[in-house]
């Protein structure tokens, strides 16, 4: 499923790299420990996290993730959004907690 379809279906707020929403989402990963995400996420995953600082962009970029979903309405820090924009990593925000948004994303990409 394409990222822009997920954004529309789930009403996600796009905070960075709106031009990169044509990417295919191949799966997902959930985590707030950056080493865990670095080691275990896969290319094309959508990453759900509560971390909002700019190091999430480096991890997403190195792992070629499809994008980052921030939970509980927490927007990215200003330098995070700027870095994500320049590196072309979409940052999306949901008001839902992680458990609920992950369930919905899973249903959409594994119908």
């Amino acid at each position: 499923m394409r990222l822009d379809e997920l954004v529309r279906e789930l009403g996600l707020k796009v905070c960075a790299a709106e031009g990169k929403l044509g990417r295919e989402v191949r799966g997902g990963y959930v985590g707030d420990l950056l080493s865990d995400v670095m080691a275990n996420s896969r290319e094309g995953d959508l990453w759900v996290t509560r971390q909002v600082h700019q190091n999430i962009v480096a991890v997403a970029s190195l792992k070629e993730l499809a994008g980052i979903v921030l939970i509980q309405g927490s927007g990215p820090a200003p330098d995070t959004a700027a870095k994500a924009e320049s590196e072309g990593i979409p940052i999306l925000v949901t008001d839902l907690p992680a458990f609920e948004i992950v369930g919905r994303i899973y249903q959409l990409i594994h119908p």
Partner: protein, 156 residues
């Protein structure tokens, strides 16, 4: 067959500079892709390189990461000017960390760094001197090339 591959480059990493953490790993990943290194090896080197970079940023005053690429292997050497590690065996255990609360709050310092560096490299040698610094040498082997020497480098 082309000429034997022999590439080396060093990168400086500034301690405490979380805003730049990952930049060196990104550059190294780009170089490996340009050299035509296989995806699996690039993926593993990116992980060990990122963890090396985060360790320098989290614990040391400064450090140097050196990338060497030959047909047989990719080597990463991470050398820092830092506090050193008193008990290397303990530090290698997954879950053990001496990171500050501030570093943990950012999602680092979970005691996975050195464990990941060991897991995703084929060889790892770590030496450390208290009050001087730590040096971690890692190697990711290109076994396909070693098994089939006539193949061009990194084509599998």
């Amino acid at each position: 067959m082309g000429e034997a591959l022999n590439f080396e480059k060093s990168f400086e990493v500034e301690g405490g500079s979380f805003q730049n953490a990952g930049n060196v790993s990104g550059q190294i990943k780009g170089i490996l892709k340009d050299l035509g290194v296989s995806t699996d090896i690039v993926r593993r080197v990116a992980i060990i390189c990122y963890e090396s970079e985060i360790n320098i940023v989290s614990y040391a005053k400064r450090g140097t990461i050196t990338l060497s690429v030959t047909d047989e292997a990719v080597k990463i050497e991470s050398k820092d000017e830092g506090p050193g590690i008193p008990d290397i065996e303990l530090a290698m255990q997954e879950g053990y960390s001496t990171a500050s609360a501030a570093v943990r709050e950012m999602g680092f310092g979970a005691g996975m760094g050195l464990a990941n560096m060991k897991k995703y490299s084929d060889h790892l040698i770590i030496t450390s001197e208290l009050g001087v610094g730590t040096c971690v040498k890692m190697m990711v082997m290109n076994f396909q090339k070693m098994l089939h020497p006539d193949l061009p480098p990194f084509t599998l």
